[in-house]
């Protein structure tokens, strides 16, 4: 790289050195040496810069390749995470669906025995007070026999709907068996539970479902039992079951409180 005007100076020096009348000049030899040395150094400087430039270009190229590779890897990684996350979300949803299906009755969508068992076991551990009520539709077999299972199913769904509306948010109503429902009334003593169940039975007796050109309605019998401190829920349940049996024996369409 030469500065502006440098070329002109070099040409002038070269011309001066060439002139025969300067051949014997005392400064000529020193000037010539200086001139050649300068040219040599200039040449070396040029080569050095050339090499340096090429190195720089190589480094730049390498950096670009690395950059491209990095960006590709990053893009791949993002794609991998995105797809993987979506699969995971899919599995989570599937699990939730399975959980829902495993714990609920398909027809009425009420909690099934499994879920109720889990809840009762939790309640036993927490030591909270509760009353259980087993409700059974009177003469349900007859409904199925005379009106068909479709009507029977419709009746179950209608009963379920009314039962849900008649309960408090923290109460749990599950399908215990074919035409049998279990109410779990938390923080509720037997007398209060009895009032709730009587109100509920009255409302349920009003439920009508169509069967041919007729309207069908049913009554329910109930057996209630309050959980006693320290006992397993199965014991409470057995008492409620026994009470229900007595209600049936006494002529149905009534509640029976377990007192023993």
């Amino acid at each position: 790289m030469k500065a502006r005007g440098e070329e002109g100076l070099l040409e002038r020096v070269a011309a001066l050195l060439d002139e025969p009348r300067h051949a014997e000049h005392p400064l000529r030899e020193a000037l010539e040496e200086l001139y050649l040395k300068y040219r040599d150094q200039q040449e070396q400087l040029d080569r050095l810069m050339n090499i340096s430039d090429r190195y720089q270009a190589l480094a730049r190229e390498a950096q670009q390749v690395t950059q491209q590779r990095y960006e590709r890897a990053l893009k791949r990684q993002k794609k991998l995470s995105r797809i993987s996350d979506r699969y995971q979300a899919l599995m989570r949803e599937r699990n939730q669906t399975l959980h829902q299906e495993a714990h609920h009755d398909a027809l009425t969508e009420l909690p099934n025995r499994r879920l109720i068992d889990e809840r009762l076991a939790q309640l036993d551990q927490s030591g909270r007070r509760y009353t259980l009520a087993l409700l059974d539709i009177d003469h349900f077999k007859q409904v199925n026999d005379e009106h068909g299972h479709d009507v029977g199913d419709e009746l179950l769904v209608a009963i379920t709907r009314t039962m849900r509306q008649g309960l408090r948010d923290h109460d749990l109503c599950g399908r215990w068996g074919g035409e049998e429902f279990l109410l779990l009334l938390g923080d509720t003593a037997l007398d209060e539970a009895s009032r709730i169940v009587e109100r509920l039975r009255a409302r349920l007796a009003q439920v009508r479902v169509p069967s041919g050109d007729r309207w069908l309605s049913v009554t329910l019998s109930a057996g209630l039992s309050q959980h006693r401190d320290g006992e397993a829920y199965l014991t409470t349940l057995q008492r409620a079951d026994q009470a229900l049996l007595e209600a049936k024996r006494e002529g149905r369409d009534r509640s029976q409180l377990a007192t023993r």
Binding site: K79, L80, R82, I83, S84, R86, Y87, L90, M91
Partner: protein, 134 residues
């Protein structure tokens, strides 16, 4: 001419956590179906990737992938991306390659996931609802 040393076709029966994997060198076809969350996915997929690489390098015939994959864990997703990349490279060299991803129409989410895989693929990649027998 056919390859001098044939690589054996894959015939992996599949299990609850691994897909059924079958290759057919003569037909130029690789099928995979089922869930894939194997304990060691490298063991499983290395042989699949090796088969695909071998077919693409030894043969000039088209290669078709028939997939009915449902759930994939992360390493299986990565293996599938690797396989699709191999197909993409082959496609760029002018080889006819194609993927058909069959999904159960009751599970549209799988089709959406297949779409994600398809995103960077420039070769034919069909995502089709399978006939349901159930």
């Amino acid at each position: 001419m056919p390859a001098m040393t044939m690589i054996p076709d894959l015939d992996i029966p599949g299990s609850q956590s691994t897909p059924i994997i079958r290759s057919d060198w003569a037909a130029g076809r690789l099928t995979m179906q089922g869930d894939s969350y194997p304990e060691n996915s490298y063991d499983l997929f290395d042989q699949v990737i090796a088969w695909v690489q071998r077919f693409l390098s030894d043969e000039q015939r088209p290669l078709a992938l028939e997939l009915s994959l449902v759930y994939l864990n992360t390493s299986s997703v990565k293996a599938m991306m690797d396989i699709f990349d191999l197909l993409e490279e082959a496609h760029e060299r002018g080889r006819p390659v194609a993927v058909t991803w069959h999904y159960d129409p009751r599970n549209e989410r799988i089709a959406e996931l297949a779409e994600e895989f398809k995103e960077d693929c420039s070769y034919p990649f069909a995502i089709t609802p399978a006939k349901v027998n159930a």
